[in-house]
Symmetry: C2
Subunit: 471 residues, 2 copies
């Protein structure tokens, strides 16, 4: 049976939580009396379905079941995780949290998505305050891994296990403070940006350009301090700060005042924003944003760094090694990511080679040519790959590969792959011929150790299966 | 003859400017009396050589010549672009700019890299003030495209042409203000971050985590305002601001004060930073950063968005179409980017397919199957690709492909590719068999229009060349 999360409040944030839990295989009870809730949630879910699975090299678990329920009681009574994402008014949140606690298990985790309130404020009227924590996520919740956790340390430890399990980065904020950490940094930028617009120095587009072509690129992979550590160079961080420090006294920011949000200023910003982005609908912008995020996250994955390293950890949880080597080998089971498609809108032909290359890696691991074996100085290099293209597939499509060892003798390894769409169509076949090599001499040589033992047994078992090239 | 830039001051920023100009084919005169200058510059250049060329799908022009010269006079006298990147002290900058103007052409552009000073401050003692502008870049200058330009509008127009030509995004700041735009936003974050550390709320690592797993990912592709426009949804930007506005009055930031940079605070930050990043040397961090940036920029390139769209524009400038179709076809001439390599440290086998796929795209364009032809409803789909792998290559290696049409008859097209390393080694061959298709029916059919006219002539000429499969 699936695990169960309750989502109280089905806006952009609640919807994002629901989508992440569902796609990670949890069932979700959703409470929101707004009649538009299901339409809104389905829009978020549709965005999430086309982006989140593409972050991984393995299929996610089967999507959980979404239940739209009429009461908070029904939503929370059996849930082990309860997300509160109602509007940002303290009294409302306290009232909702009170009702949640009346009906939920004392072992459940109640996590408020509040941007600004402290746990002690949320808990003020609670008889079990330690059960209520802050878990502040970032939009889009189904793609941004960060959740700031504030509150009771034991509850947070359990919350971290759950959130890590659904691919998030749960950051424990050790002392409670208004707006936690990230929103304080964001607020500072927001305020300065408003001044620059009000004073006519810059437009919304110019401010955004200053971010996306400059420090925004840096901050997708190193934060403020690591970036400056690198910029400071060999002289070290203390030297850098001492040198940079005096600038803080210079008139570089508007500190004291908050610009009045007059109708004029609001209209000025809205008009500039329309000019900057109005040629795209919000729905288009959401998808552009999600595709960009998938691409950025996947590029960091290739470097095994920051949010990308997190994806690699999740991939390890998604992979399975209990493959029966006497049968055809199910080597690949994944979704086609957006960065694999070309101008024709279908998977680029080179990515078929990518899928077959990943499939042959899996076969290598099965015969004992794993990371340790490679580190010890031997591997297989591909000598020839022949691909026959039979059908098209697109971003978001689920595909799987069945591989078969046709030859595993001496230094030779031949593997034949059939790549199917999940709808059953055969998309392509791949015929892989590899040579075992010494990584020292870069010359071919027979396998050693585990591979020398495993491969012949393996190959003999596979040889008993029908030969796909003779059918 | 190459165009000539002068770089005054060879630190991290001056070195970054020098690297970008050199790699884009300009000669560079460098003035810096520091005896360590050439060692430092060569370190920056070595980082730039392994990252900048990998942003493009075509080779950059031949690298220009770097001359380390003993005087400002010698550096600037024939230069059309002069970058001033000396330390951030107004009197020093004024003195250096004065000496530059004594010796340079009145038509040259003098661009100060200052983070904080206004053009009028820099120009205070100048007889040709309009010649001096601010061009404030972002580290690493050879990868981050942003340069903030402030000053005389006519000079800035010329500066924009030059900076666009070397792949940058020159943002015209229309009104001068201390610290321009981006550093004001950064300063606001920096100050708030220092408070959070001083008050023991968060460490440098926790602050960086709050950035790289959250809004840093967002800001690599949409800025503050476009991000909030999307988050605000259909209700619109004016609604979002009105709703968000009251938060500005809440105690979310430390506004009034600058934390005193006591020895204790400096040491606290340095110790936290050591703990966070000290297991990597600065040189390692630079390369990790650069590889990450290349990956992020290339992922945005795939989406043709923000800094990635800029790279696509530059690629168009780097491509050439004057190919003699009676000879073997030089279809690819590029550098292997870091995101194409695998755990063995060499180019992943699937990326050979990528190179051949790009090569066949070029052949298709040459026979008239270009974007317009495809938009009108026809294209070629690959039916079979056979790759023979002969030699390894690595990130940063230059490779080129020579393609030959072996068959171009009816709906069939067969293209044979030889991929060479620039050192002359044959890396791989690719044998491509394609079918002409109707994009409406998805079925094969003979070519129409331009392709029907061009391909037979083309194929006949290519058939006269020696057949590589019979040699």
């Amino acid at each position: 049976m699936n695990r169960l999360a309750a989502i109280i409040g089905g806006g952009v944030i609640g919807g994002g939580w629901a989508a992440r839990f569902l796609l990670m295989g949890w069932d979700v009870n959703l409470f929101d009396p707004n009649p538009e809730t299901m339409r809104k949630i389905n829009e978020v879910l549709s965005n999430a379905r086309r982006s989140l699975p593409a972050l991984y090299e393995h299929k996610l678990p089967n999507e959980g079941q979404l239940n739209h329920v009429p009461t908070i009681e029904e939503a929370v009574k059996s849930a082990e995780w309860i997300s509160e994402s109602v509007p940002e008014r303290l009294e409302l949140k306290q009232k909702v949290l009170g009702e949640v606690q009346t009906h939920c298990s004392p072992d459940a985790i109640i996590a408020s998505s509040t941007s600004g309130f402290k746990p002690t404020e949320l808990q003020a009227k609670s008889s079990r305050p330690e059960q209520i924590i802050v878990a502040h996520p970032f939009n889009p919740v189904y793609l941004c891994p960060l959740a700031e956790l504030v509150g009771n340390a034991a509850t947070i430890k359990n919350a971290q296990t759950i959130l890590s399990g659904i691919g998030m980065y749960p950051l424990h904020i050790r002392k409670e403070i208004d707006a936690h950490i990230a929103d304080r940094l964001l607020e500072a930028v927001w305020r300065e940006g408003l001044w620059l617009i009000k004073d006519g120095i810059a437009t919304t587009k110019e401010l955004d350009d200053a971010i996306i072509y400059g420090f925004g690129l840096r901050w997708a992979q190193m934060g403020l301090f690591e970036t400056y550590r690198v910029a400071g160079g060999e002289a070290g961080m203390a030297h850098f700060i001492t040198q940079f420090g005096p600038c803080l006294k210079w008139p570089w920011t508007k500190l004291m005042d908050v610009p009045d949000l007059t109708d004029d200023l609001v209209q000025k910003i809205a008009t500039q924003s329309d000019k900057q982005s109005g040629h795209h609908s919000i729905r288009e912008l959401e998808r552009i944003r999600d595709d960009n995020l998938v691409g950025i996250l996947r590029s960091l994955k290739g470097r095994d760094w920051a949010a990308g390293a997190l994806l690699n950890q999740q991939d390890k949880l998604l992979t399975t090694d209990d493959i029966d080597t006497n049968k055809l080998l199910p080597t690949i089971n994944r979704v086609i990511p957006i960065d694999w498609t070309d101008y024709n809108g279908h998977m680029n032909e080179a990515r078929y080679a990518q899928v077959f290359s990943d499939a042959v890696d899996k076969v290598m691991q099965l015969v004992g040519c794993d990371a340790d074996y490679i580190a010890a100085g031997h591997s297989y290099f591909t000598a020839e790959l022949k691909i026959n293209y039979l059908n098209e597939c697109h971003a978001g499509d689920g595909v799987n590969v069945i591989s078969q060892i046709l030859l595993g003798e001496g230094k030779k390894l031949r593997v034949y792959h059939q790549m199917h769409h999940d709808d059953g169509r055969l998309l392509a076949t791949g015929d892989h011929f590899l040579l075992h090599v010494s990584l020292t001499t870069r010359a071919s040589c027979p396998p050693v150790g585990t591979v020398a033992q495993k491969l012949p047994i393996f190959a003999a078992a596979q040889a008993k299966l029908p030969n796909p090239l003779e059918s």
